[in-house]
């Protein structure tokens, strides 16, 4: 059993056992409270730049399979669990978590007090950290952490976005709408749900110009989730701004934050972010509560767009932070959480319907 060490920038050190790939990895250490769905989490491009620790202690129980992926490969920059399962049991499982991580070169560790780590992050906030199976010298590790980039100001979209536009194959059936989806780190499940909602989808790179998008004559534009700090993505914020009003817009997570910026607002960094599958969010129109999948470290500051004709539509009942907004006149809405789930509850899946409804209305309006 090979040793591994996790060190946080505040000097907190945990000794662990290495599994998965060996090596050294740097990233923002965050915790995720989902009890299932580790494969979806690993393959969610939003985790680029982060070392993910699962709060549920027993991970790997059902192995990995070829279906439950949210992108072409795992993106997390490190993975930490209390106990990885030595075997897996699932009729769909094909590869153990350990082998999966090794194959994709993800450094991982087990056997440490993940609850202590979580409590540390809760009290001190998300921090940079290093997970190493090579270097056990605390001073040297600390130096490496301090030299690594902080999350604020980091453009990680560049690393995860597709290089070329492509059409999502879809499951067949009649498609009523044509949607262009900006890939800031898009999850397959967003594409699957758009497809299921009757949308033919073309996925385009993050740096695609508004003009190019409009030239495709889409019924609507989808702004995906993704990693990093939205504030530095000016290249796409500019383009989004041009799309506002011209075409129905639906944003999720980073897409939501970018819309916030495009509308003239600001975002700020949360202390330790929201990562999990159990956050209650209230739809302020219906006053109903949905249990949501969450994964974000930044948040739109509603105060900064209060004079932009924008309405707050969803709020997090845990900490009252902004979870969704819409423009009072123009066809656009967005949510901070993940209605596409994968992993997480399906309560918010209705938003894809809301998007198609918006496109339908917009199309009607244009015909008149």
């Amino acid at each position: 059993m090979k040793k591994a060490i996790l060190l946080l920038e505040d000097g907190f050190v945990l000794e662990a056992k290495s599994f998965g790939a060996e090596g050294e990895t740097l990233g923002e250490v965050v915790f995720n409270t989902s009890m299932t769905g580790y494969q979806e989490i690993l393959t969610d491009p939003s985790y680029k730049g982060q070392i993910v620790t699962m709060t549920y202690p027993l991970i790997g129980n059902y192995g990995t399979n070829s279906d439950d992926v949210e992108s072409a490969k795992p993106w997390a920059d490190g993975f930490i669990v209390k106990e990885k399962s030595k075997i897996f049991s699932s009729w769909r499982g094909s590869v153990s978590l350990e082998d999966y991580l090794a194959k994709h070169n993800i450094v991982a560790a087990e056997g440490l007090d993940t609850r202590a780590l979580t409590r540390r992050i809760r009290s001190s906030g998300a921090m940079r950290g290093i997970l190493s199976t090579r270097d056990f010298d605390v001073v040297s590790l600390k130096a490496k952490v301090m030299a690594s980039p902080v999350m604020v100001g980091r453009d990680l979209v560049r690393d995860v976005t597709c290089k070329q536009a492509y059409d999502w194959p879809g499951a067949g059936g009649r498609k009523e709408f044509f949607v262009v989806a900006f890939d800031y780190g898009i999850k397959y499940n967003s594409l699957r749900l758009l497809d299921r909602a009757g949308c033919k989808v073309r996925v385009v790179p993050a740096a695609t110009k508004a003009q190019e998008v409009l030239a495709l004559k889409p019924d609507g534009v989808f702004l995906s989730n993704g990693p990093g700090d939205p504030a530095v993505l000016d290249y796409t914020i500019q383009e989004i701004r041009k799309l506002i009003g011209a075409v129905p817009l639906f944003g999720i997570c980073l897409g939501h934050q970018l819309l916030g910026h495009a509308l003239g607002g600001k975002t700020y960094k949360l202390k330790f972010g929201h990562h999990g599958g159990n956050h209650p969010v209230m739809d302020l129109e219906t006053r109903k509560v949905e249990i949501t999948s969450q994964n974000h470290g930044f948040c739109v500051d509603m105060e900064s767009i209060k004079d932009k004709n924008v309405a707050l539509t969803h709020v997090n009942l845990y900490d009252k932070t902004t979870e969704g907004l819409r423009h009072k006149q123009l066809p656009l809405f967005c949510v901070q959480y993940h209605p596409e789930a994968g992993p997480g509850p399906h309560d918010a899946g209705y938003l894809f319907g809301r998007f198609t409804e918006m496109m339908r209305k917009f199309r009607k309006g244009r015909r008149k």
Partner: protein, 1081 residues
Amino acid sequence: MPKRKDLKKIMIIGSGPIIISQACEFDYSGTQACKALREEGYKVVLVNSNPATIMTDPQFADATYIEPVTPEVVEKIIAKERPDALLPTLGGQTGLNVAVEVAKRGVLKKYKVQMIGADRKAIEKAEDRDLFKKAMQKIGLDLPRSINIKSMHEAKKAVEILGMPIVIRPSFTLGGTGGGIAFNMQEFEDLVSRGLEYSMIHEVLLEESVLGWKEFELEVMRDRKDNVVIICSIENFDPMGIHTGDSITVAPAQTLTDAEYQTMRDAAIRAIREIGVDTGGCNVQFAINPKNGRMVMIEINPRVSRSSALASKATGFPIAKIAAKLAVGYTLDEIPNDITKETPASFEPTIDYCVVKVPRFTFEKFPGADATLGTSMKSVGEAMAVGRTFKEALQKGLRSLEIKRNGLDSVIGAMEFDSPQHLREFVTKKLRQPSDARIFYIGDALRIGMSVGEIGELTAIDRWFLENIKEIVDFETALRDVAGAKGDLKSRLTPVLLEQSKKMGFSDRQLSVFFGVHEDEIKELRSHCGPKTTYKLVDTCAAEFEAYTPYYYSTYEMEDESRPDTKKKIMILGGGPNRIGQGIEFDYCCVHASFALKEAGFETIMVNCNPETVSTDYDTSDKLYFEPMTKEDVLNIVDKEKPWGVIVQLGGQTPLNLTLALKKAGVNIIGTSPESIDIAEDREKFKIMLDKLKLRQPPNGTARNFEEAKSVAGRIGYPVLVRPSYVLGGRAMEIVYDEDTLERFILEASRVSGEHPILIDKFLEDAVEVDVDMLADGETFVIGGIMEHIEEAGIHSGDSAMVLPPYSLSEEMVNKIRQSTIAMARELKVVGLMNVQYAIRDNKLYCLEVNPRASRTVPFVSKAIGVPLAKLAARVMAGAKLKDLGFTQERIPEYSSVKESVFPFNRFPGVDIMLGPEMKSTGEVMGIDDDLGRAYMKSQLAAGQNLPLSGTVFVSVRDKDKRAIVFIVKRLIDLGFDIIATQGTANALKKNGIKTGVIHKVYEERPNILDYIKDGKIHLIINTPSGRIPREDEVKIRSNAIMHGLPCITTISGAQASVNAIEVLLKKDLDVTPLQAYHKR
């Protein structure tokens, strides 16, 4: 939405006595609900016949009716109280069934009572198999294929379509009573006919077998605005085919991918909406085919349940409390999460530990019972354990059971086999047949080299669980290897190994066995170079938010979250899993102690591992440690918290057994001193004390082996009552008439009692037995209550019906009892509670037994006299004086209170229901009335003994009783009953001028008595056992009576009391009075 203002008074129906499948989880739920509703300003009317519940404490409701939970009685209460609403979902299946019945009779409409939470339509949709099937099909959910039948003819046609094996599920019964799986036509016909009889609506569902599939449960909550959340997922270790109450279960689900889990979640949400449970909790069960993932819905319970109690304890989310608040109109987002304070209840708890629940069985109490587990629940209790891994939680759970297992111990170690082949065959058989010991045989199978694959084939248990068990066994093997090496303990059990062992849940005891040392040496080693025990919080949110409720479990990790402070702390040791002999009564006492001591300004710490109880509710005590009740686990907490005092005398025998070990460790045991407890337990010392006080006891002696026993019995003469010391519930207690039986007994007793000696008493035949509970502070001695048993001495006091105050004893005798009791208490310097059992024969008082601790009757007495004895006891133990607490005088009520016991015989077909010195009842009920006969009648109704007011009585008594039965039969005839008897009894009656019908015995020609029972021609049975070994035909009669729900009386005294009861009831219908009104008198 805010709470409803149109409701003022709400009625809650409790679940009645503790029975298999309905235990104290409903007291936990009901108590939470009562508290929640009163907190909101509603008036609460409660009916529950179970006096041992916290919910029936007078301060938990505005009007508390300790009356039978039957539709007739509920109607009377409704007529009297005129509540605005009825909340039917908190009293288990009993509460639900009674509520539906009351609704059906039009009572709710008549008195304008609204059913809240779930209405009749929703309940019926969930409970009626046909409606359920239609509802689920409507929303596109997959179900096992099934056919409803109402007759054997229909059943036979159905089985041709569905094939074998086939599941038989009677509609509207408790915990799957009468259900089962048939593998052949013989079994099929037996189960179908039984099921038809058991079903309240004579309907049985036949179902495609999903035997061996994976079983899951979701606990779902819904509010008025249709917000739905899943509180907890549970995966059953044991596959489909074993009742979930009898399965080892694990939370959260371990082997579902997120995609599968979400599919299940969606299905559960759709289902609760379709069923129409408006507000509250629901338990939804699923099965998944492990080969292809096909998921089918099994059932929905539209109410709080055993699983919801478990889910509450496993997550920290109080389902019943929230359900009550939702029922009066709140929505989930309006209710705060008590644990985190800042976040609302509209979320799904996420946990960062593994919870394992292990059922507790008591087959040893029912020789001849089929111990194979199936779809009809047989366990009597459960223990829950929390750990950071499944391995740790499982081992903690197994040592929590108190079945002399220290973890995943080997059970084949002591057995001998001719060859490895035989051993393998034996283990294979044990794996194939689900039983209470199967988990241990899995360990042994791995130890003898069977593979996980083989074990999986034989048990259908998921590979993930089996591999985890293999890790435990592999580690054990490695430990044993090291243990065999030379050197001192420290060099063999290195710090690294010790830490790994503890992380895997190995107890000090297990390690001490491997390494051949005393348990204390392991503890010693731990304290020097081992890992420190750490405590983590159960916080609903996996540490995402700060938790304010100190609800802890132990583990071996880096960080310890316990926050010991310097307040004056009292630690209360609970009773562990429920079993026969130790149940809710002791939990009641522990809870009272906690309440009273909190009020008095102490910090209270509760330690227990029973998830069903009120004691393990996170707000009962200032701190809760959910831990096994073993010496190791308790001392670890003591080391951490350093309490000022520890209370061992309220939780029953479990904590009492720890007394000496705790004392040795320097713990301040408050209340009666361990030395006094020892005097009472140690026969020799006890005898000296009685001699000193000039009190009489039956001739007796102590023995440590058969030779000694033989000589004692020879001296005092047979029959003798023999029993092991330091056990509760009359475990292995027996009346022995000859030497052969004595020898067999000694063998058995040494297994139960270990090193403690065996007690032998002269058995006093036909004596009247009396129980006394008293309270003392060392200066003041007050009798709590004197209870006269209805059944004669020789029947375990836990199984006897009792009357308070005594009904046949002379004032002189009662005074003698008082004086003797106080004399003993003074001598033992009792501080707290003491229970004494006496026998009276020929006007002589014999002291049978003294227990300087809380007894099973404390809740009953407290309710009968209107004084919270356990609360006072706790205060006294902590130093208060009775004088200052205002209790210095015995209170003798003018009304009569009857305690009757409830038995699980209907779970064990074929087992004799005869009572004896070994306790067999699972629970108790109370009947109160001004008139003893009516109080007795109420107790019988509450216990499910539906004494008839007319019809035919079958009488068959042993020779000895033939004189006594004459008078009883005469009265029955006067009351208009027809009598039929067996030949012998009929002859005896004829001699006394009574003519009766004569009926054939079981093995005579037909129609015989069994046919009469089946055909419903008999309405009451009076059948006293013929001798110490009951005849086979008698057993058949009594067992059949139970299966057909016929009241069956097995003692003359019971028959007398019943006839009295019938007589008064014929004169005047029963009426109902709340406890508060009795206490005011």
